[in-house]
């Protein structure tokens, strides 16, 4: 429960930062996905059931501030968590480079998705 509250606080703070502060600093050209970082961390450290729920919940919270349909980002975050959880067996978690390299690959996948999403909406935003 403590972890859930902690993730919720961190998640909401991340979303607040992502939607309110970062646009002031970077404008619309750069929007770091902080929830993705959190899901990445969850995927590397949590148990499958709890981690999947946290990831889905964080995704759903992100949906409140992003898009029009609740559950889309929840589903995506869940998929990301599942991928990381399955893939983490192949990773040496004690290596410090695991988190950055996994994040990098995830960011690439995520940016690809966002580009498709924004191009469908007719927006020109780099993610």
């Amino acid at each position: 429960m403590k972890r859930l509250v902690l993730y919720l606080i961190v998640g909401i703070a991340s979303i607040l930062t992502q939607t309110s502060i970062l646009p002031l600093l970077f404008g619309l050209t750069l929007r770091p996905d902080l929830i993705l970082l959190l899901v990445l961390y969850i995927g590397l450290n949590e148990t499958p059931l709890a981690g999947a729920f946290y990831a889905w919940l964080l995704g759903c919270i992100l949906d409140v501030f992003c898009g029009t349909t609740l559950g889309l980002n929840g589903m995506i975050m869940l998929l990301i968590f599942c991928s990381i959880y399955i893939g983490r067996r192949q990773l040496n978690l004690k290596n410090d480079l695991v988190l950055p390299s996994t994040l990098l690959s995830l960011l690439r996948a995520r940016s690809h998705y966002n580009k498709r999403k924004t191009s469908n909406q007719g927006l020109k935003i780099w993610h």
Binding site: I12, L16, L24, P48, L49, T68, T69, L70, L79, C82
Partner: protein
């Protein structure tokens, strides 16, 4: 069967969770226009933070706008640019005044040297057609002008008055084809008649035997009864000597720029 489930429990778990998530998503797709309780709760929860952040953001924005981004400087820049524009205009006006002053000073200087009664006049119009070279000045019979008076500027002769009304007069410029001025070449005193040719003048009836060089100054001879003696007409720029005949034809470039006449002096009488 149980072994299979245990072996692949994670996959089954994720699949079932994904199906659940998909169901939630598909359900929310049908209620897109409604705000769910979850959404309302999250928005309610985050609204104070947003408000606080917004206030901070506004404060920071105001601060940055006023101080960091130097918006005052931008406003000052706009005001200063406007001022520069106004001052440029004033400068142009002052330049105009300075030029006018310079012209008038020259005229006064000329007036002092000439020692003849002259009346300053301003050019108010030019000829309506391009066939003739005349100007209209703002002085007329009421100011003591009459037909046949010399009109000059500091650089040389301009022409002579041909029509006078009570307040304005028309001046036939020296470069008009109908204008003829008795002239002489300054350095060897060769006499001739300077006739207008549009943009230039020609010095006719200059004796062929006289040695004339390009660049020689041509001045008024003072024998025509209009122009006082010694006023510059122009300089010789071309010499045409025919195979036979008594005279040579000389082309004179006038010393006055007739296209830029603004103030002139009307010589009212003979030099004292």
């Amino acid at each position: 069967m149980l072994d299979f489930l245990k072996k692949h429990q994670t996959i089954f778990l994720f699949t079932s969770l994904f199906v659940c998530a998909l169901l939630v998503y598909s359900n929310s797709l049908r209620q897109q226009n409604k705000t769910t309780l979850f959404e309302r709760g999250v928005l309610q929860l985050t609204s104070p933070f947003y408000r606080t952040l917004d206030n901070i953001k506004n404060e920071v924005t105001i601060l940055s706008d006023n101080y960091l981004n130097l918006i005052d400087v931008q406003q000052n820049n706009i005001i200063l640019k406007q001022r520069i524009r106004q001052q440029r205009q004033q400068l142009l006006q002052l330049g105009e005044v300075a030029q006018e002053n310079s012209r008038l000073r020259k005229l006064l200087n000329f007036h002092d040297n000439a020692h003849a009664p002259e009346l300053p006049a301003r050019v108010i119009a030019v000829d309506a057609s391009s066939w003739f070279r005349t100007i209209t000045i703002d002085k007329g019979a009421n100011d003591g002008l009459s037909e046949g008076l010399a009109v000059v500027v500091a650089e040389g002769i301009v022409g002579r008055t041909i029509k006078c009304s009570s307040h304005t007069s028309r001046v036939l410029l020296a470069n008009d084809a109908a204008s003829e001025v008795s002239a002489l070449i300054q350095h060897n005193r060769t006499r001739g008649v300077a006739r207008g040719k549009g943009t230039t003048l020609t010095l006719n009836y200059a004796l062929r035997s006289k040695d004339v060089q390009i660049g020689d100054a041509v001045i008024t001879a003072g024998t025509g009864g209009i122009f006082p003696k010694g006023l510059p007409i122009g300089t010789i720029t071309n010499i045409t000597k025919h195979d036979y005949g008594l005279f040579q034809t000389l082309e004179i470039t006038p010393s006055v720029d007739f296209s830029r006449l603004e103030d002139v002096l009307v010589v009212l009488g003979e030099p004292q």
